[in-house]
Symmetry: D2
Subunit: 280 residues, 4 copies
């Protein structure tokens, strides 16, 4: 470790700190790299809703240039009467989509007893509402897959790093930080995307940092311009919600791009990535 | 149920809603009542630190008039390097204090695998950071003890009610709502106590509502005046952190009252409760 | 001055600081005292709408026990198409109500060119949106009447004290601080009343501190319980919106008490004031 | 006007709305265009501190490619003991810098009595703290120069548009909207830059929209990456604080670029503007 004793004593996020590693961490997910120079696009539906849906989306986003498939199987929903996801069956459908397309998959885990079910999931996601579910953080510190950790709705940058530290200190060095908007007084957008946080996280930590404009905005027409901004500030990747039929999506339809809109966005993002010198 | 079919369909927190019960819920915890006319004071240390400490505090607060002992065994701490609580041993010491004093006990659970360990805990607490840990909410829906649910740092009143609904819809009707301050731009206090929320929760739901001025303020000198305000707005109880030696507390010392300060506060609160027509 | 040279150098609100005066400031407004032991109730309509309205309200609230009449003549409205107040004519009607009832009057000033028009207004109010209109603060530092300064929607306690310092440093020692709710993510209430701020302001400054539950809540049914809480935390007064016909008020009807509701509230507040040892 | 009667009745910001003009407004400031395709860079010091300083900065930023010079003469400062600006003398020095370099100038007005003093200022700025100083908004509705209106620290997008409406409805159609960060719980940055607001403002209004990364971030190292993001989301310009000696600046030194850093940033921004098809 490259940090001094004094730094080690004071730092409450000493292992994820930039002091710990001068070299930025690059994470390899089944051949897809995240970090320093690589800018993979993660895409897919809020919820897996059925075989036809997830396969159609996976094939289309792959053709458009996405490198990783996202899909919710266990869904953290505000009300118990909202659709709770297809659960274990949803994970099986994601595995099927992975076999069909070759895309690695990412899905959200909601409690530590589900770890075994996630054996075929390439990146295990901790959602914003569980960012300070410390027992879950410790538990995913023991798995072999990388963890995608989303920033909590009202958590500071330092709290975010300390939650990442829980995972790394528990044995899993492969954490991807994801800014997804914070809760503010502004109600026109779902949340307020905090791009300064992306920049600061890159300065303060060696971990890769991505952003999610879909959940941040909650409005489809903001996703493409925010995507360009995310690339411009130096993020290491992006996560974008897509759906083959947004108007009838079981969750988050208003913020999901349809597959054609995603294809158009990817054309634009490829030019932008080339301009920035990044591999998309 | 007293609600119309239309209301039942639309309400995303239909069981905890005032529409569901015209009569407010009164919860009985080993003979201590919470709700409509009863205003129990819950007190004790942030963390159980040892036998001598917890017994000394329990005896003193009982003598001062507290009705329920609180104490943290499993601690949700921002950094993995902060003190994480005495864990199972902490729960045993709370049980010991309960036998010594007769006070029922409340302690925070951090994940569903701990439920068995909490068999002797009279009220199981879900902390602010787990308010939207929906799997944990469902799990405590299956236990026999009442659940004390704290409002999340950035959660709206409606989200709070929907989290309570998760517990009730999972089979446990005995939920106590606890306002403990929300996160705002003001940094002089730890959080901003939202007393309007206490009033609205009482209007919107039949569940008992208490408040925690210690975590809201984060400053000792604010606790007593806020306690009077909590009683004045019609809350059903209060939770106050105390310590026999705040200067050396392992957590939250700055907001803990010492035992003499607590005794003084209780003298004042008894007069206030009498004025309000409440049983303290 | 009781402050040390070091304190004087560092304090950016040195004259309003508790260090400056050990004795709390009591302000006398045409015989009505505000501060230390006196808890006057200020009431009246959001906007002066006509002679009949303002006289009817003034007589009724006086009979109920209010000590000061409030009424808006120049209204800071979000849209230029909202009712902007009766302006100079509104001030004349307030003066008329003052002569009819003997109640001193308070009204909001919006720019320094209006100072002459406010010659008969007993307390000049600076609204929340002008809390950092520093030129206006300096200007009211030169008037002879006390100034009621409202906290800005997103201003910290320290910024609030520094705005008061502008007035005092410009020559007017009689400033009344008014907490009226801050803007947070919670949208069910208009703002979030910050009672911790009232307590801290009393600890940090010698100036009188009042609170406005009507603007804080924006909902009529919250006003009475919040009023009790405001008294309980040690505030020096309260400002409550009333209207003789809230359903048809030109502004803020949803948060205004009707005259009967105000009379009932005052009966309760008198008992509470007696309990607290305050002169209402 | 292209809006329907129904829209005209309901819209509280009808004249600045996109419904009012399908064609985006392009503002011409002494030959410098702002809007649709033009992306001028406004730069200069927080405060004018002296002739040598402002001339040195003006010449250097012009050479680097800035199109408009900013400089504070009347400064809205939190404490009355902070430096309040060089005032009228500051405006004279800005005029001098304008004659020396040919750059049009922008400076903040703090009250309507200063309008005459601003006769040689090409763009009159309304600061964030005065965004809802409605009398000042009406007053600048009567001047001939364009107005640069900054978003308030806790104001919503709709409130921002309504403040612009005050100016336009008072007779001045040339308003430039400036997003400069909002106040949130995050304390590591001075404010949180809300780029979604820039996108929404462009969708909802025909007025030009620029952004200020310096005040939003409060940290020098964030300015360049945020500048790229501001260009990427489709803003019509940018305002960046610069100083010839940031370490000794009388205000906001921590967020100011030195002249060499600004030159480097401009080289980067020219490439980015070319990529976006904008004239910088």
């Amino acid at each position: 470790m490259a940090i001094s004793e004094a730094e080690a004593k004071t730092a409450r996020y000493r292992m994820v700190s930039r002091f710990a590693n001068e070299v930025s961490t690059v994470i390899d997910v089944a051949g897809v790299k995240i970090g320093e120079g690589y800018f993979p696009v993660i895409s897919g539906p809020c919820s897996v809703e059925g075989e036809e849906q997830v396969i159609a989306i996976a094939k289309s986003i792959k053709a458009s240039g996405a490198k990783i498939l996202r899909g919710g199987a266990f869904k953290p929903r505000t009300s118990p009467y909202d659709f709770q996801g297809m659960q274990a069956e949803g994970l099986e459908l994601l595995s099927l989509a992975k076999r069909e397309t070759g895309l690695p998959i990412v899905s959200e885990i909601m409690n530590q007893s589900q770890i075994e079910l996630f054996h075929d999931v390439d990146i295990v996601q901790i959602g914003a509402r569980n960012m300070q579910n410390f027992d879950l953080l410790k538990a995913v510190g023991g798995i072999k897959q990388p963890v995608l950790l989303k920033r909590g709705l009202a958590n500071t940058i330092e709290e975010f790093l300390m939650s990442a530290e829980y995972i790394v200190a528990s044995g899993n060095p492969n954490v991807i930080l994801c800014e997804r908007g914070i809760r503010t007084f502004e109600s026109m957008t779902r949340n307020t995307l905090d791009l300064s946080a992306v920049i600061l996280l890159k300065q303060m930590s060696h971990l890769p940092v991505i952003a999610d404009p879909s959940h941040a905005a909650g409005i489809r027409s903001l996703v493409a311009p925010l995507a360009g901004a995310i690339l411009a500030v130096g993020a290491d990747g992006i996560m974008i919600e897509t759906h083959n039929d947004p108007a009838n999506a079981l969750c988050d339809g208003a913020q999901s791009l349809d597959l054609e809109q995603f294809a158009d966005l990817m054309k634009d993002m490829k030019k932008r990535a080339e301009f920035e010198g990044k591999v998309i």
